[in-house]
């Protein structure tokens, strides 16, 4: 507004003014556009510093040797700041996990879909209710009514496939991404 008013006063010929202001508008727009784009890229490169750094990402996968875990035993490892429950399941436990009607479950999921090898169950040990760590890893821990895990915070019971069977938790224990690097070594993440 200001500049137009001033132009009115200062520029005598209307014609030149029109050509001028059109040219100026184009120049204005491209300059502003370019400056904003540059500013946006600069802002992003600064904000990006808050994303996980290289040293953090380097620890985002971890290899676990399963050979010392005997049948029926469990191991807890840390991965990305969370406990990972690894259970070497017995034949009974596998049978228990598979003799369930999927339709009866809160969060419907087949045991076959939750494991890569039937005897090895790998789940994130964080209760899906409000984030407590369930019991059931150590010998003598209460394992809940379904022989898996029991969350002491609000009484959620998980079965031997880490599925929610009773209590307030809405979902099964998460299965982290992992793969067998060799027969007895898994890489989580």
């Amino acid at each position: 507004m200001d500049k137009k008013n001033l132009n009115d006063k200062l520029v005598e010929s209307d014609k030149t003014q029109k050509v001028d202001s059109e040219k100026r508008d184009f120049l204005f727009m491209t300059t502003t556009g370019l400056a904003l784009a540059g500013g946006a890229i600069a802002a992003w490169s600064l904000i990006d510093t808050m994303n996980p750094a290289k040293d953090v990402l380097a620890l985002s996968s971890t290899e676990v040797d399963l050979s010392p875990i005997e049948s029926g035993q469990s191991l807890t490892v840390m991965w990305r700041g969370k406990p990972i429950f690894i259970r070497h399941r017995t034949k009974d436990e596998i049978k228990q996990a598979r003799n369930v009607l999927v339709d009866d479950l809160t969060h419907k999921s087949l045991d076959e879909e939750r494991v890569k090898k039937p005897e090895w169950l790998v789940v994130v040990g964080v209760c899906t209710h409000l984030g407590c760590v369930p019991l059931g890893q150590k010998v003598g821990d209460e394992k809940g009514e379904y022989g898996g895990w029991f969350c002491p915070c609000h009484g959620s019971h998980y079965d031997t496939s880490g599925r929610i069977r009773k209590g307030p938790a809405p979902l099964n224990l998460d299965v982290p991404p992992y793969e067998f690097v060799s027969d007895e070594i898994i890489k989580i993440g």
Binding site: M1, D2, K3, N5, L6, A35, S45, L46, D48, T49, M50, N51, A53, K54, D55, V56
Partner: protein, 416 residues
């Protein structure tokens, strides 16, 4: 043009009626009448403001990654340089930004000195500016300690030890500053906290600085008051676009340093982790402290040196009452102009001897330069205020601009 006519409508109008932010912005950044003859030396105020914002933004992001602990600080800075996404960029911007900030502010100050911007009725504006400089110096000094390299550590040791020069209480002050019996972890932690706090104090004082500025408006190269509307133009778009252009030039230099010579202004020793048992052969402060460092070392007596160094900054506070000459701009003061340039060169010389070892000829030079520094403020300025005759001063800004048009190119070259 006039804000009374532009009644704001809709949501903005509703808000503005209750909280006049838009009127405020309009008043201070759009319609704000500015002398039409400002040179590029008037860009440095806004450049300083932009640099302050850059420093605060990068500083906050750095603080998210930095660890203020004597055992971990150096490592955490190296982690920023190597592992954090764009961390090297963040740190190099912050590091070189400090230097750029001082370059800009020093030019801003010399401009004020040359064109008499500190004179009535802008004394408080000037005093607030000197206060900003003081806060900047403290902030920069404490920031330089944070990477906990050799220069950080020994710089902190030397500068804090200055306070031991005061009789009786000196040692207590130093122990108090350190939070221990040497520069150590407590010192680092408090320096970090204060380094984080002080920029926000600077922001506050900058706000006051701008309020004071807008009370009487900008000074100008002629140093004469605005007499009519014909002398001014609205800040927007004229000075916004001029400031943007200046910012572009500034950023080219700034980022040229950041990307291609990031350690040009730094000292290699600061890439050696702090070691309380080994003093570097040649301790030098950052370049922006060198003139003051030279004054400190020019005096053989410890206490006097410290007092003179502080006085070198403090004298700026009383400048409006040392130079009371009615004419502001050095353009019309033939003698002041000469002494001003001598003073400017003298400051460069002080900076240069500050970087040299304190021995032989350098000591003599630093003493002469220190002498002139104070002579300029305390003797030359008061005398000139009384006896200097000025050249003919144009009646108004508009009149001067018109006379320029009729082939009088001389004044514009003399500005520089």
């Amino acid at each position: 043009m006039s804000s009374e006519k532009n009644e704001l409508k809709g949501v903005t109008g509703w808000i503005d009626k209750r909280l006049p932010v838009f009127t405020f912005i309009n008043h201070n950044l759009r319609d704000y009448p500015t002398p039409k003859n400002l040179s590029y030396f008037w860009n440095f105020g806004s450049l300083a403001g932009v640099t302050l914002v850059i420093m605060i933004v990068t500083g906050i992001l750095l603080a998210m990654q930095y660890t203020a602990n004597a055992d971990l600080a150096f490592d955490s800075v190296e982690r920023i340089m190597r592992d954090v996404n764009n961390g090297w960029l963040l740190r190099y911007i912050h590091m070189n930004g400090a230097s750029m900030f001082f370059i800009v502010v020093y030019i801003h100050i010399f401009r004020g000195l040359y064109y008499g911007s500190f004179k009535a009725p802008r004394e408080i504006l000037w005093i607030l500016g000197v206060l900003i400089l003081l806060l900047m110096m403290a902030t920069a000094f404490m920031g330089y300690v944070l990477p906990w390299g050799q220069m950080s550590f020994w710089g902190a040791t030397v500068i804090t030890n200055l306070f031991s020069a005061f009789p009786v209480i000196g040692d207590y002050i130093v122990t108090f500053l350190w939070g221990g019996f040497s520069v150590d972890n407590p010192t680092l932690t408090r320096f970090f906290v204060l380094h984080y706090l002080m920029p926000f104090l600077i922001v506050g004082v900058v706000g006051l600085h701008i309020v004071a500025l807008h009370q009487f408006g900008s000074n100008n190269p002629l140093g004469i008051d605005v007499k009519s509307e014909g002398d001014t133009i609205p800040f927007h778009p004229y000075y916004t676009v001029k400031d943007y252009f200046g910012l572009g030039v500034f950023l080219i230099i700034f980022f040229g340093l950041v990307f291609f010579a990031p350690n040009f202004l730094g000292h290699p020793d600061n890439y050696i982790p702090a070691d309380p048992l080994v003093t570097p052969a040649h301790i030098v402060p950052e370049w922006y402290f060198l003139p003051f460092y030279a004054i400190l070392r020019a005096v053989p007596d410890k206490l006097m040196g410290v007092i003179l160094m502080f006085a070198a900054v403090m004298v700026l506070f009383v400048l409006p009452w040392l130079d009371t000459h009615k004419t502001r701009s050095a353009q019309f003061r033939p003698y002041y102009k000469q002494f001003f340039w001598l003073f400017f060169i003298n400051c460069l010389i002080l900076g240069w001897v500050g970087s040299m070892p304190a021995e032989g000829l350098y000591v003599l030079i630093s003493r002469l330069a220190t002498g002139y520094y104070f002579l300029f403020f305390l003797v030359i300025l008061p005398i000139l205020s009384r006896y200097e005759n000025t050249r003919t001063i144009p009646t108004s800004i508009a009149a001067s601009v018109l006379s320029d048009k009729f082939g009088n190119e001389k004044t514009s070259t003399e500005n520089i």
